[in-house]
Symmetry: C2
Subunit: 122 residues, 2 copies
């Protein structure tokens, strides 16, 4: 719930960029394969605001990343969007090379760069 | 204007991530130094949508980066925000080690990691 989320956030502060994991079916990956096999999808999520450098502060000051239509909205966004925009990105620094599965017609597939293996503020 | 921007975008397509340069005074960097010396600030800007991998498509499908409050807004954003969110980030891969200048009281400063030296979709 909204209340629960707020409480949690207030207690812990914004979570730093890290690797997360969920279990889902291959179909749920949304890549177009029909398979009820479950896989572990690891992804990167969290904030990188503590890893900002002078570059990011200048970018924030100049609003160089902002489209003209967004400039006026900055104040209303309560800083949330801008923090993400003017900070390093929480992204995979390594991917799992392969993910293999059988689809529901027993065809074998191997797909690449699906799941993250390590995350970083880049 | 909105019309001008659309025309430009339709003609050229979204610009890929690359290094840009502007000349400004040290004061204009917004880092707190008062100096009318001009410096070249290089920064990274542009799209990385052509460098998406399976990971990014899964993230888009799962909306794992979306806060619950933003989910409902997705359709209205015309895809712009989501493209940025579910693609690699256009970020500096190298920084200029140093930027040196005198402030308006003739004090000498050297600051680091201000200007980008190379960009990439990370």
């Amino acid at each position: 719930t909204e209340t629960g989320r707020r409480t949690k956030r207030a207690r812990k502060g914004p979570k730093p960029c890290s690797l997360h994991e969920i279990e889902l079916t291959v179909s749920e990956l949304g890549l177009g394969y029909e398979s009820d096999e479950t896989v572990r999808f690891r992804y990167c999520s969290g904030k990188c605001i503590h890893e900002r450098r002078n570059y990011d502060f200048v970018m924030e000051h100049m609003q160089l990343n902002n489209g003209s239509s967004e400039k006026g909205r900055r104040g209303r966004d309560n800083g949330k969007k801008d923090k993400a925009r003017y900070a390093p990105c929480c992204r995979p620094t390594k991917f799992e090379k392969k993910m293999s599965f059988f689809d529901n017609k027993d065809r074998f597939y191997t797909i690449q760069n699906v799941s993250a293996r390590a995350c970083g503020c880049v």
